[in-house]
Amino acid sequence: MSESLKIDLNIAVNYITRIEGHGNIKIDLKKGELKECKLEIVEAPRFYEAFLRGRKYYEAPFITSRICGICGIGHTLASISAVEDALNIKVSEQTRILRQLLNNSEMLQSHCLHIYFLVAPDFYKATNVFTMAKKNPELALIGLKLKKLANDIGDIVGGRCIHPIASVVGGFTKVPTKRELKGLLDRLKEAEKDIWKTIEIFKKEIEIPDYERETEYISLKHSDMYAFNEGDIYSSDTGLTSYKNYREMTNEYVVPHSTAKHTRHNRDSFMVGALARVNNNYAQLVPSAKKAADELGLKVPCHNPYMITIAQLIEVEHCRVDSINIIEELLRHPPVYEKPEQPKVCASGDGVGAIEVPRGILYHNYIINKDGIIEDVNCIIPTGQNLANIELDMKSFIPQMLNKSKEEITLLMEMLVRAYDPCISCSAHFLEVEFIE
């Protein structure tokens, strides 16, 4: 490491690879002082909130699902939840647990994509999944197998795994058969060895960068379960508040270098997503997920953002076991078709849907008039909530790594952004990185 890098460092990485969407990182250090450190989000806004206005309430889940090809299930469920909250629609217990299973499928598939195909290449000094697969085909094959299983759960429960069609306001238009559920159950049980093989490989072969910065962790919290689909909002700083108060928890604001809004609550930034959930709700993880946390060295509260990937792997195990529990319950009481609940005539209201999706809490808020027309919309996407926290991590970490080469610093910055699993396509749309020298 040359002495000059301790004084002047100007790095420009104009395409952060292996994330969903497009953005830039710019870092400018002059005489050891950080002049600029930005995560630019440069994709154009897509105006979903604008074109939902004037549509019927039942169209919203199908339209908002298209915000993302990775987390379309989450958008569907958040949208349905907001409509049902606005129109006071109560759903059956069967619908509740089918939705939990559907959301588990998205957690599994999105986390597996991120762990095995976007992040794993970093651990094997590979630039992409193709070279990583040559070095460790077993890991890539496990990733493909788990992703297929997750997609198949989405297909069977949601009608299709991308942009589901069977999950609608008030319930489901079709329910899975016993045979389909039994098939999934067997495969979920089989997946245990794949997940534990991954844990074994990670324990032996990967090195997580050594960096910590305490921040505020925000997630849903529920008294009876590890909160994904239901719950109120919990901050590690300020405690529990109703999901209805989401605006007080997010406080969106605009920064000039990002087309996605930033958020803050009790501090200058907060974290949402797998690590925030594990930190806040560790006690409600299934025992084998806690065991996975022990094996992988994650102790809560964990303040290392690079451990988000590890938290995702812990959630993969949690979702696997939780899905088994749900399916066993469904096999004891086989699902029957129920006509989806409809709103009362002239129902109207202001409703909020708050759902944990892979990258954190997703909020949809609709105002619906007595004709069932959506009059106003607000969607707050997890990646947007994490942006300010990523920038503060970068600002805090860079001064600690000036003894490293420019290439190492660049890689660590890219890995940091990737760890958050940003979906810029959702928040506005991608990411590029620029270190300026």
Binding site: T17, L113, F117, A133, K147
Partner: protein, 152 residues
């Protein structure tokens, strides 16, 4: 040798639907069904890795930009061409058939028996109508696919 025909594409992206249209027509043809397994993948091309096996020929039908005139077609082995991929900047919003075949190759699978029936598109944009030049050639494409499957 087992023969598998796969339709790739998007019904709502104009000429990108041609792989699906042709596959659905083939599904109504008992002669073809006797000699080949037909699979409609749509946009979920990652499934292909599971189907690449020894002694199995795969024919993928898809709209392919090859620099031909719109509506013209070509049958070629995937290994004969250099497909444009974005290997280092890839996100999974961009992971298509070419990337999945490269991944299969990286995993040690033999992709030499994968053929593409590529049709040069005229329009690739949002819409559910295919171009006239492609529509008018559908029967010709079907005949060529059948000919390929019978004679390979």
């Amino acid at each position: 040798m087992r023969k598998i025909v796969i339709g790739i594409g998007d019904d709502f992206f104009c000429d990108d639907a041609i792989g699906l249209i042709l596959l659905r027509k083939l599904q109504n043809n008992p002669e073809v069904l006797r000699i080949a397994t037909l699979l409609e993948f749509g946009k979920k091309s990652s499934q292909i890795i599971d189907w690449i096996k020894a002694n199995t020929l795969i024919l993928i039908i898809d709209a392919v930009k090859m620099g031909l005139k719109p509506g013209e077609f070509k049958i070629f082995r995937f290994t004969e061409v250099k497909a444009k991929t974005n290997e280092n900047t890839i996100s999974f919003h961009q992971f298509g058939i070419a990337e999945n075949l490269l991944l299969a190759e990286s995993l040690g699978k033999d992709i030499s028996s994968i053929y593409i029936f590529g049709i040069e598109p005229e329009r690739l944009e949002i819409g559910n109508e295919i171009s006239d030049v492609i529509k008018s050639n559908i029967e010709k494409y079907i005949a060529e696919i059948k000919n390929f499957l019978y004679n390979i």
